[in-house]
């Protein structure tokens, strides 16, 4: 198991947003995390990546307890996420943003004595990542000037540039048109098989075609973990989440 959580609990005041969540993510996983709005999916990712601290429970990455580790350190150990609501560097260009990530990953970001241009490999790598996501054309425009959908892609590019072992995607395709979101998921799908991916998505078509396992979260607790087909048929899931339309 690359990533394991053991009985994670978290509450905001009286609101329990994570109840006893234990999940396992094996190498190469392509898991989806679904559930009604406000079920606690984003919170769960915040807990795994360290933006929030659980009230109880443990998080293990590669068998090591990282519950008390800082976010940045988790990223360096290969646990990366994207944000549901764009969290970018508005005045940097995508090229600069991604290069920054690569430099951080290579531990070169602290080298204040070396010019940025001399990190040729880093720049080229980030350009390659951007090209892969179809952002080559806008790579040298300030991020703030990109359309929303393009910014969503930059969000993914930043995550990919950390070379994660575990990639947590929070509604990566929201706001990206159909054909591009398919492309995006193809990029995700074609990531090396040793990367485990957990993605939140409300678009069932994507969930059912890219996920090997689906975890359903309701009111902070895991309702069910199963294959897409099983989930599709589960009456409880239909009741609280899918509605009539999918079947």
């Amino acid at each position: 198991m690359v990533l394991r959580t053991e009985s994670i609990c978290k509450s905001f005041g009286s609101l329990e947003v994570a109840r006893d969540i234990s999940i396992e993510l094996p190498q190469g996983a392509r898991y989806a995390l679904i559930g009604p709005n406000g079920a606690g999916k984003t919170t769960f990712i915040n807990l795994i990546t360290g933006q929030l601290r659980p009230n109880s429970g443990r998080i293990l990455l590669d068998g090591q307890d990282i519950t008390a580790t800082g976010t940045a350190e988790r990223v360096r150990r290969g646990l990366t996420r994207t944000f549901q609501i764009n969290t970018l560097f508005p005045d940097l260009t995508p090229l600069e943003s991604v290069t920054l990530v690569v430099c951080e990953r290579e531990k070169k970001a602290g080298q204040f004595w070396r010019s940025l241009a001399s990190h040729r490999e880093a720049i080229e790598e980030s350009h390659a990542i951007l090209s892969q996501l179809g952002l080559a054309e806008v790579a040298m425009k300030p991020t703030r000037q990109l359309a929303y959908g393009q910014q969503r892609l930059v969000e993914i590019a930043l995550a990919l540039a950390t070379r994660p072992k575990v990639l947590l995607l929070d509604e990566p395709a929201a706001g990206v048109p159909k054909d591009e979101s398919a492309m995006l998921f193809e990029v995700v799908a074609s990531l090396p098989r040793d990367i485990a991916v957990l993605f939140i998505e409300h678009d069932m078509e994507i969930v059912f075609s890219f996920a090997s396992q689906v975890i359903v979260l309701v009111a902070g607790g895991v309702l069910l973990q199963a294959t897409p087909d099983e989930v599709k048929e589960d009456p409880r899931v239909r009741e609280v989440y899918l509605g009539r339309g999918h079947g």
């Binding site: 709005n37 919170t43 549901q84 706001g175 159909k178 054909d179 989440y241 009539r244 339309g245």
Partner: protein, 238 residues
């Protein structure tokens, strides 16, 4: 024929360093609903921003309810009855959910009870600060907040994004009700072309800043070739 509720004539608009829309002419009659389709970054959001007045109209005119509103500020346009739901939700972070709803509310059919009935989730979270909501809840709040102003023309920028399927179902039903039963005029920007086309009477496709194609929604829904060519959208076969 009566004058349309909203009419854009040869509008050019954009940002200080880029013209995004040029020569766009659109008109929407009262009670009509219009879908705006197009690729990423083509200017769909900019069109809505131009109508509400956040993006400056550089050329052309916009008329609403028979009045030239090209030079009016957004708040004046809102008071005339235009309501806009931003793509990025843009919830007021330092207001509670309920304050978000009431801060700009104007009397009409949509009041707290009505929006809470539409989105029960918001009622549960009414005391939360705006930035302590989940993504989907923010989306609901953004829609509800605009409904509370009781607009006669509703501009929706990808309103279904980030909502659970069951909520999408309810919301589309509600939108259809608004359009069909209450005669609300609607402009809907949506990535899910099929959903958008089923909800609306007419549709336009934007392409490189121009209206590349305009047709009744039902017709377009079956004209997959045009959709594929102009929008590059692969339709879901739902």
């Amino acid at each position: 024929m009566a004058e349309p509720l909203l009419e854009l004539k040869d509008v050019r608009s954009g940002y200080s360093d880029a013209v995004v829309l040029d020569n766009v002419s659109v008109s929407v009659g009262a009670g009509e609903s219009l879908a705006v389709l197009g690729r990423n970054g083509v200017g769909k959001s900019t069109l809505l921003l131009t109508i509400i007045g956040i993006v400056r109209t550089m050329r052309g005119t916009i008329r609403f309810k028979g009045q030239d509103i090209t030079r009016l500020s957004p708040d004046k346009r809102a008071l005339l009855g235009i309501g806009w739901v931003p793509q990025e939700r843009e919830i007021f972070r330092s207001l509670t959910v309920e304050e978000n709803l009431t801060v700009a509310s104007r009397p009409g059919r949509w009041n707290l009870d009505a929006v809470y009935a539409l989105f029960p989730r918001l009622k549960e979270r009414r005391g939360n600060m705006g930035d302590q909501l989940s993504g989907g809840e923010q989306q609901m709040l953004a829609i509800a907040r605009t409904l509370m102003t009781n607009p006669s023309l509703l501009l929706l920028d990808e309103p279904l994004e980030g909502l659970a399927p069951i909520i999408v179902e309810e919301l589309t039903a509600a939108i259809r009700r608004m359009a069909e039963d209450e005669g609300l005029t609607l402009i809907l920007v949506e990535q899910h072309a099929d959903v958008a086309l089923r909800l609306t009477d007419r549709a336009i496709i934007l392409e490189r800043g121009l209206v590349a194609h305009a047709a009744p929604s039902a017709e377009l829904l079956s004209d997959r070739a045009t959709l594929d060519r102009n929008v590059g959208l692969k339709l879901e076969s739902a």
